[in-house]
Symmetry: D2
Subunit: 468 residues, 4 copies
């Protein structure tokens, strides 16, 4: 059994930083000591000058997701290995029920993909592609027996994942009763499809039109609608995924001011990248940044507002929505028709760094950095106190983060299975130094990898700890 003492570091908790030494025994954190008070006779890791933070929890990934005739390019193997490199030691991926399928079959398929292949621990949300009596019953069963306590619905993608407002309402009512959280892709896909068809009919086929045909008003509208439907479902807990527009944030903030159980996440891409500079890159280059919700205009205050939302907790979580597609053969499917470009950006490896850059840029405190990438997703999705905190008894998922280090992001150095990087050339004023997953050092301070496929375990989740 491992026994390790991490000494001389600064632990970052929800209340802020404090100096403490962390004792790891086996897979767990055994104790926290005032500096120097720990046992003398054990192996140590020197964390001088480092932040000691809980392994990050990425609550939104799509490994091997089938989409538009292809598959997300990271398997659970490659994707979770990249996650480990980036300081993320838990992912919550989305198992998928498609319309007409049995929910449990979809779940079984995802277990099949993940089992034995993961480098870090993993859990599942369930996408409900078709709400009917059977899938409502399945919700109860997944909550009770399978450790799946969150269900994602789509107001976009008619004919694929789309649920109508009646289906959404029924799922919300059921969640209200069984304690689950409803996660929502909040874009008015019915209206968007009209705009998309009109754009294509006008010959507007370049990647930027993916963004132009998904205007902020249709994200804000769907966000508002989801909040009202949750109100009708007697305040069913609601979690808006990948929020990108200021106006959608305003809807969330107003619901929260009214005391509602409404939460939202954003993603690093919305904090840094823009409609014009990335999605509007010359030629077909912008395809790399086709994701939904889309990148927003740099001429509007979206990015500043999202940072503000993270500070004030109107945005509770930063996830990646990791959904990588290679440029060659995958993104290229949409040459001449932006609507055929597979939607998604790969970033599971970079979230800890990209949000830390916000600390450097005075956008966020250290405590909020850790909350938004680790503690809150763990609490939100029923993984606390096993994950998301540095506390005795918790899993020894620990990251030493070096504020004196530097990280250059690019396709030459990343570990994701992608032939390009959405963040090519970005340089972060900090570095993931050492990563422990359940007591094992999987990445050491020199960047050597000691993890292995199959180390990662499936996590049965409880109900959310985060409700008002």
């Amino acid at each position: 059994m491992t026994t390790l003492l991490i000494v001389n570091g600064t632990v970052i908790g929800s209340a802020g930083p404090y100096a403490a030494d962390v004792l790891v025994e086996g897979e767990k954190i055994a104790a926290l000591f005032a500096p120097g008070r720990g046992p003398a006779d054990v192996e140590t890791i020197d964390a001088t000058g480092k932040y000691v933070i809980p392994g990050a929890v990425d609550a939104h990934t799509h490994m091997e997701l089938p989409f538009g005739g292809t598959f997300a390019s990271d398997t659970f193997d490659t994707g979770t290995r990249a996650a480990a490199f980036g300081g993320t030691t838990t992912i919550v991926d989305f198992a998928v029920q498609r319309t007409g399928e049995v929910v449990q079959d979809g779940l079984a398929a995802w277990h099949g993909k993940a089992e034995g292949n993961c480098h870090v621990d993993y859990a599942f949300h369930m996408i409900l592609g078709g709400v009917d009596d059977d899938s409502l019953k399945a919700m109860d069963q997944l909550v009770a027996d399978e450790g799946i306590t969150s269900f994602k619905l789509f107001m976009a993608y008619p004919g694929v994942f789309y649920s109508d407002d009646g289906q959404i309402l029924r799922a919300m009512q059921r969640a209200r009763d069984n304690g689950a959280v409803i996660m929502m892709h909040a874009e008015n896909g019915i209206a968007i499809d009209v705009l998309v068809q009109q754009a294509l009919a006008r010959g507007e086929t370049d990647p930027i039109h993916h963004g132009i045909t998904r205007p902020q008003a249709l994200e804000a509208e769907a966000t508002s609608r989801a909040i009202r439907l949750a109100e009708v479902a007697r305040d069913c807990p609601l979690y808006i995924v990948h929020l990108s527009a200021s106006q959608a944030l305003e809807e969330v903030a107003a619901a929260r001011d009214a005391g509602r159980n409404v939460f939202a996440e954003t993603c690093p891409q919305y904090l840094y990248l823009t409609l014009e500079d990335q999605l509007g890159a010359p030629g077909f280059e912008g395809a790399k940044w086709v994701c939904s919700t889309p990148l927003r205009s740099k001429h509007e205050p979206h990015r500043a507002d999202l940072w503000k939302g993270l500070r004030s907790n109107d945005l509770a979580v930063v996830s990646t929505d990791h959904c990588p597609f290679c440029f060659k053969d995958q993104k290229e499917l949409g040459r001449g028709d932006f609507s055929k470009i597979p939607n998604g950006i790969g970033g599971v490896e970079h979230r800890v760094d990209l949000v830390y850059q916000g600390v450097v840029d005075k956008q966020l405190s250290l405590a909020r950095w850790v909350e938004t990438i680790a503690t809150t997703p763990a609490r939100m999705f029923g993984l606390y106190p096993r994950k998301g905190v540095i506390a005795p008894g918790s899993d020894a998922d620990i990251v030493l983060y070096d504020p004196a280090g530097t990280t250059r992001i690019g396709v030459d150095t990343h570990h994701m299975n992608m032939d390009h990087s959405a963040w090519e050339g970005y340089e972060i004023a900090g570095r993931v130094h050492t990563v422990l997953s359940r007591g094992t050092v999987v990445v050491d301070g020199d960047g050597n990898y000691h993890g292995r496929k199959g180390h990662g375990q499936y996590l049965r989740r409880g109900l959310s700890d985060y409700l008002l």
Copy 2:
């Protein structure tokens, strides 16, 4: 040196509860252990079935405050002893500069009252009764040298504590530069005084008219004004004290949605007591509940909104505004003229219990209970990580709270120097069990007192850790 292990308890942190054993060595927390992993050979306190929480921090007390020709009836001796009984191990009292006085003289006077008399640790905010060039310079000196990093101004009480908007602006500008927080008593006292004179002229002299002449609109107005002035002072951090009205809360929430460094506290009296039932009690009885801001109408949603604000963190802190006056000879000064009733309610002993009752009533989570009474005030006012958290290296200010216990509040049992209780007959479904102050058990599980006058030390505070 004490060595003590608190075993079998449930620690409540900002992220929620977890099981841990807490090792106290001397005046500090030396370590937290996963249950059972602590040293075997030390004295233990059994916390089975108890919550282990940081000693509470009351950021708003007025011991021995001179007011209306009399003095608040608790000395630092009696008041801090009562605080200890109630699980509060730190108070931040208000030193007072009156108009024309030298700020440092006021501070020295308060040190004189407190030094050697306190049972628990104490710090000071500084009330500026007159903002001028000298007191602005004094602000810098208090921040730099005296550990005083928050300054309170009054928009009420013309001729006593009142500052005009120009003075407020100047103090805010200075605070913006030296890092201090401006605390604001936000009521439009100029307009209130007109209403008071008009009421008295109509023969409306009963205590309830204290409340009627301080309508919510004049609290909301002042709150809004303070927020705008802080904006002009380049977003000076602003902390609204004793917020009681829904409409004032809306102003705070809107500022926070806009990303502003605006914070607010409420007090237990506003969460439970009302204009009609208490302040409007028959005869002169209502005088017991004369405080400013006043109790609000039960026919309006103030109380529910305040609980909502505590959940959403638009209200960050619960303080007591402990300012006790005896009924006899003190409150009675205002018979026949409500404006002569000394303003204040005593409650330093009951805050931990009264907010815990909100947990029982499903108004608040355990984590928010601890944040609002201990962690956030400590962070807000520069006492973190020494106070406000259960963490290695922090002061061993620890409370064992028994959710199976019961607390009956009343003048026969309380320890404050008051001849009545504002909370007479209230029964709480929980009990302060054991209290440690800097490693010393001052109250044991049987309610015996082991503390002593002079144990409490003055705390030099740093700048706020809580800014966005």
Copy 3:
């Protein structure tokens, strides 16, 4: 040719009341004179003590509407005669295209019903039951050639009139280009149908459940959604019909504060009647008040807010949504299943009176009374200056209203083809005294009827005069 001078009355214009004599020549108003300055040698009507107002314009009626297997019980003959008795000299009825029908065929059918049968002038809006390429083209043709410049869509009634958000968006885009106004029945019918089925499954079959299953949140949601869709359609003019909930009004008000071309009407039933007192009447009695949007709870501030909205012009128009069904054989279709009750209340005869009562009750000024029932609907729907004002050159549609009179409403006295009255027993402190339609006295001061079927003419409407 008639020549008539209405003398001694007080004309009510948009800017307020003024004394003037009104000269009618033929079908038109020939002149307005300062009192006593008119020609001496003509027939006069003495309007001493009366208000002289433009004949009212009811912008929302449904004569002979097929609904739920039956027909609204007023024909254009009986309905427009009742309108005349009530001081309404123009109606704008809804011609209907059902899904799959040719728009122009629907219009022709409505012309067939109305032509030669109307007692007062009439125009048509067009209901689009199915938005597709053909009906979009038809919109242009109706605007250009048929004098139909407003189109109504439904977010409720799936399978009957319902349009999805893509259809709505396309119709709005077209309206934006051809200058028409989109009228919206704003209720989320998809979600409502779920609530209806659930209620029926629980055995909740009484009329009140019609209201309970259409909660305010689903009206507010749809209102908000329509506003956002109109924003995407480059600020297409939008007119919300039969607004009944405070929360929907808030959405309209916010859009208007933002400078948007968003308008709304309410109906008398929402200003006076309630969920509990009418829709919740014992037994099946409540069926009389089944209409959509439903009557709202008296425990919430809806009615006061609607009056407020009329004062501030956030509500621009009062229409009746006249859609009468007899209790016997019609409303009774829904015994045992509230969802089978034909939706509608008859009131075309009472609007002038019911809104005037608001003047008596100090809810509304005289000017706003006339604006909301006559001037604004005429301007909104392209009938100004022919209708809606007392001005030289306008049609001599004139009502003398007697503020000293009294109107008792009830089935025994009304002229609508209904076997009951939604307003039975209501007494109004005012009375429609004399009514002129295009220069003809159709109702005289003694209540005698001089009108005739076929007098009413079809009005080709222009574009709205009311856009910001």
Copy 4:
């Protein structure tokens, strides 16, 4: 007695334009006729192609105002003559009570200045420079006996016109009882004075610092405070003068959405001119545009928002705040110290044109043009129906406005007593063609002046007709 028929014109009323011929007999409008229906044997004015509008009402002028050691440069003679040239046939000037003066003495002084000197009709508001028992009594007397029904207070200019919040509250309470309207200069002058002193101390003495030291937040704050105080005064009618900032407009809009009797005016300078381009003109040139509230930044949406407010009626009135000072000897008093520059812009001659330009620019409808410059000020301040409308019985104050004309504004052509123009070089796509004051043609279509000093009469005003 004049008898004149204005033929072939288009009358603009509150409900929109209509064709009518207007008969003037003596000082009054005797009749309106459908085109061609008027008497054949009278003198005519041909208004072909012209708009026939009511003479404009300027509700905010300061003739001969003493300010900062000098006097506004227009006398009632020169100022009202210039007004007539510009189509303004009524002014409401501000009589002044200074602190310590008897209100009625101030009024008498203003009557002394105006009587026998005015070219067009005039009325007075009363500025209360000191609210005390005597001036409160005087308010009642002026309402009852003097035809003065509006009282202006200042939240700015401490030591000159400033009232504190208690004085404001008392005046509002009195107005609530006697029916008057409170007009408010809403800027936080106490805070502004601090900023001014700090700027001067830093050597920031140029005119632009006049604007920088009066930030929008201090206008919005005061606006909000005035609204709250009016709420405490049981919804006393409140009229905010010279609103210039978007954020102040938001406060007004919110109050109006809540159904409050809150109104606001803006001025042409805020619709067109900016902090940078005018107030920030090189050298001391900016002094020409020193006025309070100040011109706002062109980098913020103030101007667009003000036009929006005029469309939606959140801004009810456009006045000029005409307060002219010559550059030489007057504006120059503030060389080297912007706080010494007399505050004011002269524009009484240009308002009709400048707001008409908004019609040309599609900012405003013809109906709103006439409402904001004539009808609403007349209704707001108790002059309706004598002034502000083209209606039989009203005063024959009539303007023929030529949309085919052009107006070049500049010091060489204007008639105000100023040695410069704030609008030098502005060109308007329209022209005041003919102006009648009480039946007399004072300006003919060739620009010849036929008016005379002393023609203008004092107007006793009634209570406001405009309250909700």
